[in-house]
């Protein structure tokens, strides 16, 4: 295993030390592994927290700051944080207007956030939770864990952050969040496996001539394993199931997001974006905003994902609003 780390047990703790030193505008609670905006809690504003296993950076800690999250809880690598952390974050960002929990749909994350919400309620903090579940690679059914939360989470944190900044109340902010989740779909693929530091070896074996279509952000195997193919065919394999799942034509257009899994260089991501855009144009889908880069990653996995989000005037307005975080920044 080749990684820039010390002891595998200290990876998250030590990375958080670097985050704190590199971003004086953030505050890190090392004991609880929480990244706060320096001025949290913001009086009268709905607090937004998220969190999840580490290894997906910049998600979530890199999205803490004005216009986005108020705090993010870092779990061990690929392991949901625990309720204690979420409770501490909830209390730390509660400015009197309640707190929204943004939860990616994984059994562990959902259960831990549920326990935290129960604890927070007992402490008198008003909490709403919204669960992202945008991954079309996974069959959606009442009888399974449901779809995974992936790329839409990034867009949701930005958009909902802007809504909270505008002073909307908890119910309204949660409503925006649910609207984003309902209108977004994603699909990912991997060229190589990631390696979890504590495991010391690749999570899965992927032969040199194969790729995994429908991968999750924890190296969970995907829909199917297929021979390597040119980027334009990979783009088809990702976009087609998304368009099948939701009608993205008409309306006010879409936000198209090509995300890198961690080890895929920007050169390839832009090339992929060109392919995705070409397919969308042919399919009659109008792109009004875009995002290209590694925003929700899977350690050192090579690969990418595509997320489409149906936009309307409100979402465009919220997307364009100023944001000032280490991972996404504009207008501020």
């Amino acid at each position: 295993m080749k990684k820039l780390i010390n002891d595998t047990a200290d990876v998250v703790t030590e990375a958080l030390r670097g985050v704190e030193l590199a971003h004086p505008q953030l505050r890190v609670d090392h004991q609880n592994k929480i990244v706060f905006r320096g001025d949290a809690p913001v009086r009268g504003k709905v607090g937004l927290i998220s969190g999840g296993g580490s290894g997906h950076e910049p998600l979530h800690g890199g999205f803490v700051g004005p216009g986005m999250l108020d705090a993010a809880c870092a779990g061990e690598v690929f392991t949901s944080p625990v309720p204690d952390q979420m409770l501490a974050a909830t209390q730390g960002v509660d400015g009197g207007a309640g707190v929204l929990h943004i939860v990616k749909n994984y059994t562990g994350d959902v259960m831990n956030f549920e326990m935290a919400a129960e604890l927070a309620a007992a402490e008198g903090v008003e909490v709403e939770a919204v669960v992202t579940d945008d991954d079309v690679a996974v069959q959606d059914s009442l009888y399974t864990a449901g779809r995974r939360g992936v790329g839409v989470t990034v867009l949701l944190e930005k958009i909902v952050g802007a809504a909270a900044d505008e002073g909307r109340d908890l119910k309204a902010v949660a409503e925006v969040a649910r609207k984003v989740d309902a209108n977004g779909r994603s699909m990912g693929m991997a060229l190589t496996s990631c390696t979890v530091p504590a495991a010391g070896k690749p999570t899965f074996d992927l032969p040199d001539d194969q790729m995994e279509i429908g991968i999750g952000i924890h190296g969970e195997p995907g829909r199917r394993r297929v021979p390597l193919a040119p980027a334009r065919e990979v783009a088809e394999m990702l976009v087609e199931p998304i368009l099948k799942d939701l009608d993205f034509t008409g309306g006010d257009g879409v936000l198209a997001f090509v995300n890198g899994m961690g080890a895929t260089p920007l050169l390839e991501l832009y090339l992929m974006y060109g392919e995705v855009a070409a397919i969308l144009r042919k399919a009659g889908v109008r792109v009004v905003r875009s995002l290209v880069g590694p925003y929700i990653t899977s350690l050192d996995m090579a690969g990418c994902s595509v997320t489409l989000l149906k936009m309307d005037d409100e979402l465009v307005h919220l997307w364009d609003a100023p944001v000032n975080t280490p991972g996404l920044r504009w207008g501020a």
Binding site: G75, T107, G108, T144
Partner: protein
């Protein structure tokens, strides 16, 4: 050793479980690599190490308090799916233990069933979903059945351990419907469930250290 379970016996069991988790951590993680995210061994080891540290620090408490501490420690240190589930298992066992200083066989079995019910309430898995419930349910059933048949606690726990192992084996052909493995659909078949495997360790160490 004896027909009742007090805090000392619970401590022995939990330490034995911690050792078993540690020894089998790589295997648990390997199982989780195949159908999950390669952390179940690390998660359980982190949690059980924390539990052992708590036991070392405060050994002399009644069973209910001890079990609740174990549950809260697991909730606070494990994360993932197994944290809330194993945590709830022990929290509910603690509640079921009430103010007893010693749990007789019936009370221990009742506590374990309360734990199972907690796991099901929290995780909403049913038998056959390819989860820890598939090892825990037959184990609790076998424990009850053996006690009803007049067996002693030790024999009953050995029957429970055998049932847990069988339940863990039985997860292999199943298609997962809960947890991370469910994302795999049909591809999850042919792999043993990591949580069922660690639960079988839990019941086996109970058989070895209690009763």
């Amino acid at each position: 050793m004896g027909e009742t379970v007090g805090s000392a016996a619970l401590g022995r069991w939990l330490r034995a479980f911690a050792d078993a988790v540690s020894e089998n951590a790589d295997e648990l993680t390997a199982l989780d690599s195949a159908i999950g995210d390669a952390d179940h061994g690390a998660n359980m080891r982190r949690g059980m190490n924390a539990v052992v540290a708590k036991l070392d620090a405060a050994p002399d408490v009644a069973p209910a308090a001890l079990l609740k501490t174990v549950g809260m420690t697991l909730v606070s240190t494990v994360g993932g799916a197994s944290g809330p589930l194993y945590g709830t298992l022990f929290l509910r066992m603690g509640t079921s233990a009430g103010d007893r200083a010693e749990l007789d066989a019936q009370a221990f079995a009742a506590a374990l069933r309360a734990g199972l019910n907690g796991v099901v309430a929290r995780g909403k898995a049913v038998l056959g979903d390819k989860t820890m419930v598939d090892a825990l349910t037959p184990a609790v059933d076998a424990l009850d059945a053996a006690l009803t048949d007049g067996a002693g606690l030790s024999d009953a726990l050995h029957a429970a351990a055998t049932a847990a192992d069988r339940g863990s084996d039985a997860t292999i052909p199943l298609v997962a419907r809960k947890g991370r493995a469910s994302y795999l659909g049909a591809r999850s078949a042919g792999h043993r469930d990591p949580g069922a495997t660690s639960t079988a360790l839990l019941v086996n160490t109970a058989a070895a250290s209690l009763g």
